[in-house]
């Protein structure tokens, strides 16, 4: 539904985006990853039409991005705030009317969301009377209220306690199940693995990796396994695998190893099963966190 093609963005003295292209599929949750200062925010600002690219195109639902698309996009920036002196209800109403909703429709939806997120009594409160986490909830509601086709969330969970983070995560999944597409920018890799279907990794103004999360992780498998067993046998000098690590656990030992040559994991089992009691075996798949660190360090 959204395709970014060869975007270049140059600021006064540095290149923020260097020929970046990516595809966001409809109904998916797309993770936009990268270290600080990589160019994520610059890219998001181009998609939300806050700034314009120097060259390249953004295509939204088959059309070149234009001002008609503003109302179909919801954006929760990382640096976000509200008018401090304004009442919550009035404020969300104002923001959603700016996105083209009528007063009646907006009021109806605000009531719906406030009930849903346990914010029922907040309408007449002022922003300065709310905690940071409570303000984040208000901002989330303001972002999704106009039912946008595409929602862009920049670090949506920062500032939330685990209970509210979970609440918001479930709302994201529910909206996604109804067909809303998400772009999700974060540093928290565990939430990427929980939520994202696809990702793109941007580093130093360039896209260095993209694809489905499962495919990427599969691509980073390297025949590493972890086995837990009870027994005293010594496997440190095996012909089948190289030992990476041997640790003592509560119930025995845990051995992390990498297979040699053409051996498969069953060969390991065959060899060990007669010598020790095996409790657990699993493949060690690199986490997104590992992949992130590995790629960015390169």
């Amino acid at each position: 539904m959204l395709s970014v093609r060869n975007i270049v963005k140059q600021y006064a003295n540095h290149l923020a985006l260097n020929d970046v292209s990516l595809e966001v599929e409809k109904g998916k949750i797309f993770g936009l990853l990268g270290p600080n200062g990589a160019g994520k925010t610059s890219l998001i600002r181009i998609i939300t039409q806050i700034t314009a690219p120097d060259s390249g195109d953004v295509i939204f639902n088959g059309k070149k991005l234009n001002s008609d698309h503003i109302n179909q996009i919801g954006y929760l920036p990382e640096e976000r705030g509200l008018y401090k002196k304004m009442e919550i209800g009035e404020q969300v109403l104002y923001l959603s009317k700016l996105k083209g909703l009528s007063t009646a429709e907006a009021t109806k939806r605000i009531n719906f969301w406030f009930d849903k997120l346990e914010m029922g009594s907040w309408w007449n409160k002022k922003v300065e009377d709310l905690s940071k986490g409570m303000q984040q909830k208000v901002q989330f509601v303001a972002t999704v209220l106009h039912n946008p086709e595409l929602i862009i969330l920049d670090e949506p969970f920062s500032g939330f306690d685990p209970v509210n983070a979970d609440l918001i995560k479930n709302e994201i999944l529910e909206l996604n199940a109804q067909g809303t597409t998400f772009i999700f920018s974060t540093h928290r890799m565990e939430s990427v693995e929980e939520l994202c279907d696809n990702i793109a990794l941007i580093d130093k103004s360039k896209k260095i990796l993209d694809g489905a999360v499962d495919d990427i992780k599969a691509g980073y498998r390297n025949n590493t396994y972890k086995i837990e067993y009870k027994g005293d046998a010594d496997f440190s000098d095996s012909a089948i695998f190289d030992v990476i690590e041997l640790t003592q656990t509560k119930n025995g030992k845990c051995l992390k190893f990498k297979l040699k040559g053409n051996f498969v994991v069953n060969d390991v089992l065959n060899m060990m099963i007669s010598k020790v009691q095996i409790n657990h075996l699993e493949e060690v798949i690199p986490s997104m966190n590992d992949i992130f660190i590995e790629r960015v360090r390169k």
């Binding site: 006064a12 600002r45 939300t48 039409q49 806050i50 700034t51 314009a52 690219p53 120097d54 503003i70 996009i73 954006y75 929760l76 920036p77 640096e79 976000r80 705030g81 509200l82 008018y83 401090k84 002196k85 304004m86 104002y94 923001l95 009317k97 700016l98 996105k99 901002q139 303001a142």
Partner: protein, 446 residues
Amino acid sequence: MNKILLIIRREYLSRVRKKSFIIMTFLTPLIIAGFYGLIIYFSIKGINDKTDKVAVVNQNKTLKENLVSNRNVTFEYVNDSFEHLKKNLTKSSYDYILYLPDFDIEHPKGIELIGTKQAGLTLDGRISDSIEDLIRDYKLKKSGISQTDLDNLKIKVTINTKKIGDKGEEENSSAGASTIIAFVAGVLMFMFIMLYGVQVMRGVIEEKTSRIIEIMISSVKPFQLMMGKIIGIAMVGLTQFLLWIVLTFSISALTVTVFVSKDDAKKMVASSSIVTASNPGAQQIQAAAISDGPLGNVQKSIKNLDLGKIISVFIFYFLGGYLFYSALYAAIGSAVDSETETQQFMMPVMMPLLLGYALSLSVVTNDPYGKVAFWQSMIPFTSPIAMVVRLPYGVPGWELALSMIILVIGFVGTVWFAARIYRVGILMYGKKASFKEMVKWFWHKG
């Protein structure tokens, strides 16, 4: 367009509902009316109720005539010595001692005035005037002019200034009335532009520091946000101005009836030479007193000034001048992270406004048709103040039109200029803005 209206509405309502706005709006006319009441009060009672008593020690052999006492100064000639009087001044009933030595009449020197307190400029002037009169009279008599001729020479003249209006008719005018209106208009204009311009800047800084700006401009264009804010605040200013006019006029009317008691009114009618009231009904006397008394001249002239025109031109220049400056203030607000950083940028914006203010209230009121006045009322940096100051004295139609056109071109220019800085500035955080930086933002494309 619809979005700009929403922004205007929010900016307007959020300010008009503030307590400080409501207090300011209702308190200011009360204060103005209070001043107006005081002026009327004193013009009836006379500001100087107290008469200074001056002991005169005259050792001059030529000046035999006595200084003439008047309402404010009583001269009493004493035979005591100057030194003795000086010692006992605090105990005596005199406020001052005037010492006239035996000076040469051609070069009066050595006159001293000693008091328990420093004599003010007015007293000083009054006494020296009296002495000058005395010397002049002496000299005139010496050259052979009789006392009767001298008395005949003393004539008081009041000038009834008139001006030929646009249609050739004669209008009563008074330099006094024009100057009062010019001052009030000039000060108000300066205050309004400053006050509301700074409000625009504060509003922009608030949006920036509260970090709502990025949420806002993902919904509206920076230009819409800036213009919405500027127009919304302009409407707050207009509301306040119109309320002030209505309230000031109604409260002032009330003060006049309260302050001018019937007795005072009678006194004033008696002292006036143009008593025409044949019906001694209290109301008429009161009205007559106001229209014919010393204040009456000014009031009559104010009526002739066409307040409607002055107010509507004032509103035009307020809007024009405000738009001109507030756009610059918006640009400043966008460039900084907090209000404390605004100082270095405020100066260059404030200077022309201050200069216009200072020059308008001095040079322009003295010579409302001169070159300085003309150019000041053409250059958009100063024209809002200069033109409203000139207006009560009368300004040719073409000058007014030309100045208005230049002002419109001027504010379109500053709005365009400011918008280019604003759109980049509002997204810049933590970077110390400089003029060099702002020039870069201005040329930034996209």
